[in-house]
């Protein structure tokens, strides 16, 4: 978690440290337009890590006994002509509702709340996850509710309609995915990032966005008031 705090407070020390600006013509152009932090939350076993991984069995091991898990990833996506760096945090292993550090939520611009369509209980726990977001995250955070494991249709316990209805009632986006079959996973990230980018006030310089967020009034767009449910069903 130290790194996250550093990256958000410094925005990279290179920008803030030199007292005298150092001009270096060789410095490459800043290679992205925006950077955002996203987090993945949801009950244990719903497939958060699989959503973030393409080949989940290939994590390397430091010794034959222990596998070193992934802490976070930097991923680049392009949308609407913008290049976006995402820092994505997987909270797997910290699923007890109050054990996910508030620091994860604090810096995040978007959150993916995942449940398992074959496990009713993980769906019923969604309100608790949304409460955690309301408690710890910025009020304008973008939320998408994700029903995972559409590859196990025969075991489905939560209908698509119920998922849609829940998301609609809580003013979140909604999507069903299969991480295993890599179905809709990329769409979910793109949708979420589009929503975040749409909120960036056009007059704000993209590079200054992260540093200025604390002083910006965001009243007209704050909160999850706009209902923009969409569903990319797999059928």
């Amino acid at each position: 978690m130290n790194m996250e705090q550093n990256s958000s407070s410094g925005g990279s020390a290179s920008r803030s440290s030199p007292a005298v600006p150092v001009r270096n013509r060789r410095l490459p152009q800043r290679p992205f337009d925006y950077k955002f932090q996203l987090i993945l939350i949801g009950d244990r076993g719903v497939g958060k890590t699989c959503i973030l991984e393409r080949f989940s069995d290939d994590t390397f091991s430091i010794s034959s006994k222990s596998t070193v898990g992934v802490d976070f990833k930097i991923k680049t996506i392009k949308t609407k002509g913008k290049t976006i760096r995402l820092q994505i945090w997987d909270t797997a292993g910290q699923e007890r509702f109050n054990s996910i550090s508030a620091a994860y939520y604090r810096g995040a611009k978007g959150v993916l709340v995942v449940y398992d369509i074959t496990n009713e209980e993980t769906f019923e726990n969604l309100p608790k996850w949304l409460m955690m977001i309301d408690k710890h995250a910025a009020p304008d955070i973008e939320v998408i509710v994700i029903g995972n494991k559409t590859d196990k249709e025969e075991l489905r316990q939560v209908s698509t309609e119920r998922g849609e209805k829940f998301a609609y009632e809580h003013n979140c986006r909604f999507c069903e995915v299969s991480a295993k079959e890599n179905l809709n996973v990329k769409d979910v990230f793109l949708k979420l990032v589009d929503d975040i980018v749409d909120k960036v006030p056009p007059e704000i310089s993209p590079f200054g966005f992260e540093d200025t967020k604390l002083s910006l009034p965001r009243s007209e767009q704050g909160g999850r008031e706009a209902s923009r449910v969409f569903c990319c069903t797999t059928g």
Partner: protein
């Protein structure tokens, strides 16, 4: 070696994952540094042999983690986070020592240059 460098010190080519081709760094974003560092071997946990690793000499140095196009960070082991491919998670392809916030190293031997 020279064909990998531009301006005598930067990466002239795109740095990608050896296995899946995921783009790690775009050209001219990292600086070559020579440094001795032991990294655990790149093998899947399914492969049995207990091969410890290699001492590597040449690295691409990046000073801001957002310079990477795609990269994964492992959990911390003895104050170090290993860098892995963000897509297929092969690694470690490099490392980051938490005591130096502005240094992220990618081993030349463990990536492709295209």
């Amino acid at each position: 070696m020279d064909e990998l460098l531009s301006d005598g010190e930067k990466n002239a080519k795109t740095v990608t994952c050896q296995r899946c081709g995921s783009v790690v760094l775009k050209p001219n974003n990292a600086t070559l540094v020579k440094k001795e560092k032991f990294l655990p071997s790149m093998r899947k946990k399914s492969e049995g042999t207990d091969q410890a690793g290699d001492t590597l000499q040449e690295f691409w140095l990046v000073t801001d983690m957002y310079t990477f196009e795609n990269v994964g960070f492992t959990n911390t082991v003895e104050n170090i986070k290993f860098l892995i491919c963000a897509d297929c998670e092969i690694g470690p392809i490099g490392w980051h020592d938490l005591s130096d916030k502005q240094a992220f190293y990618v081993a030349l031997e463990r990536v492709e240059h295209k």
